[in-house]
C-alpha cells in the first residue's frame, strides 16, 4: 500500500472567493502583511501499487478529483509502514 497525498489548487487567475474572505479576516486581525490567500483541497488516497501508480493517480485527478478548467494538482507518494 502507498499513501498518495494530493494537493488541488485553483489555477492562477481564477477568482477564489473563499480565499478573499479569509484574507479580509486576517487583515481584520491586523495581520496587515498578509497578501493573497488561496484555498485548495488536500486528499489522502490509499492505493495498492501495481507498478503504474503515477499514471493511475494522474488519470484519477484528470477524470474526477480535479477540474482541469479551474484547478491544478500535484501529489506525493509515500511508503506506508
Amino acid at each position: 500500500m502507498r499513501k498518495v497525498k494530493i494537493y488541488i489548487t485553483l489555477k492562477e487567475g481564477v477568482l477564489d472567493p473563499q480565499g478573499k474572505a479569509v484574507q479580509h479576516s486576517l487583515h481584520s486581525l491586523e495581520y496587515t502583511n498578509v497578501g493573497d490567500v488561496r484555498i485548495g483541497k488536500y486528499m489522502e488516497v490509499m492505493i495498492e501499487d501495481h507498478g503504474d501508480i503515477e499514471q493511475q493517480v494522474e488519470k484519477m485527478c484528470d477524470q474526477l478529483l480535479a477540474n482541469p478548467v479551474i484547478e491544478n494538482y500535484s501529489y506525493t507518494i509515500e511508503e506506508v509502514v
Partner: protein, 227 residues
C-alpha cells in the same frame, strides 16, 4: 413529446421539472432514477436542479461519472434536446458537454430570488419563442453559480453565439454576466436560473414556459418533416 427527468441522489427540483412538462406544457415526463435509466425512448432529456451527491468534491462532479452519463452523451450526439438547469448545468460542465466550470458565488452566499435575464440568442431550439434581447423574469437558487471559462473559450462562445442568456444584474460573478450557454451543435442548453419555476403566473412569472414551448415546437416540426 416524451421527456426524461434524470433523478440523481440529491436532485430536488425533479418534480418541479416534471410539473412544468406535464401540467404547464401538457406533454409527458417520467422521473427516471439514474441507475435504472434507459433514455433511448425519450425525445428530450432534462437534468434537474438540486445537490447531486451532496455537491461533494465539486457541484455535479460525482454525478458526471455515473453510468447514465454515457447515454446522455449519446443522446446529445444524436441531436436530442438536452436541458440542464442549475445542478443539471453543473453536471453538463463537469461531463464536458458544455465548456467551462462553476465557482462559488462571488459573495459566498446562497441566493434565491427572481433575476432579469436577457435573451442573447433567440435562434436556438430552446429560445425562439423569445424576442431577441427580450428581458425575462426567471428565479435563481444557487450557491455555486459563478460561471468561469478562459478567455479563448469565451471568445469562441461569443463568436458562435453560444451565449443564450445573460443576467441584467450579475448576482454571482459569472464571466460576461453569463446565465446560460448552448453547445456548438445547438441541442444542449445549460443554465443556472430555473425556467421550470416560472411556468405559471401564480409562481410570479411564466416567462420560463416559452422555453419548453420552443423545444416542443421544434420537435413537432422535425417530427412532421420526418414522418
Amino acid at each position: 413529446m416524451k421527456f426524461a427527468v434524470v433523478v440523481f441522489p440529491g436532485s430536488n427540483c425533479d418534480r418541479d421539472m416534471a410539473f412544468a412538462i406535464t401540467e404547464a406544457l401538457g406533454e409527458e415526463a417520467d422521473l427516471v432514477w439514474y441507475q435504472e435509466a434507459d433514455l433511448s425512448s425519450y425525445d428530450g432529456i432534462l437534468l434537474p436542479g438540486g445537490f447531486s451527491y451532496g455537491d461533494y468534491l465539486r457541484s455535479g462532479a460525482i454525478a458526471s461519472t455515473s453510468g447514465v452519463i454515457e447515454q446522455i452523451r449519446q443522446a446529445a450526439e444524436k441531436g436530442k434536446p438536452i436541458l440542464g438547469v442549475c445542478n443539471g448545468f453543473q453536471v453538463l460542465l463537469e461531463m464536458g458537454l458544455l465548456p467551462g466550470a462553476m465557482l462559488p458565488n462571488q459573495n459566498l452566499k446562497f441566493m434565491c430570488h427572481h433575476e432579469t435575464l436577457r435573451v442573447e440568442n433567440n435562434q436556438t431550439l430552446f429560445t425562439d419563442f423569445y424576442k431577441e434581447k427580450e428581458e425575462i423574469q426567471i428565479p435563481i437558487a444557487h450557491g455555486d453559480g459563478n460561471y468561469y471559462c478562459d478567455e479563448s473559450t469565451y471568445q469562441t462562445l461569443k463568436a458562435n453565439k453560444q451565449i443564450a442568456f445573460t443576467y441584467q444584474t450579475n448576482p454571482n460573478g459569472s464571466i460576461a454576466d453569463i446565465a446560460g450557454i448552448i453547445n456548438e451543435q445547438g441541442n444542449v442548453l445549460g443554465m443556472m436560473p430555473h425556467p421550470e419555476r416560472a411556468v405559471d403566473a401564480l409562481l410570479g412569472s411564466k416567462d420560463g414556459l416559452r422555453l419548453f414551448q420552443s423545444i416542443l415546437t421544434h420537435w413537432r416540426n422535425n417530427h412532421a418533416i420526418n414522418a
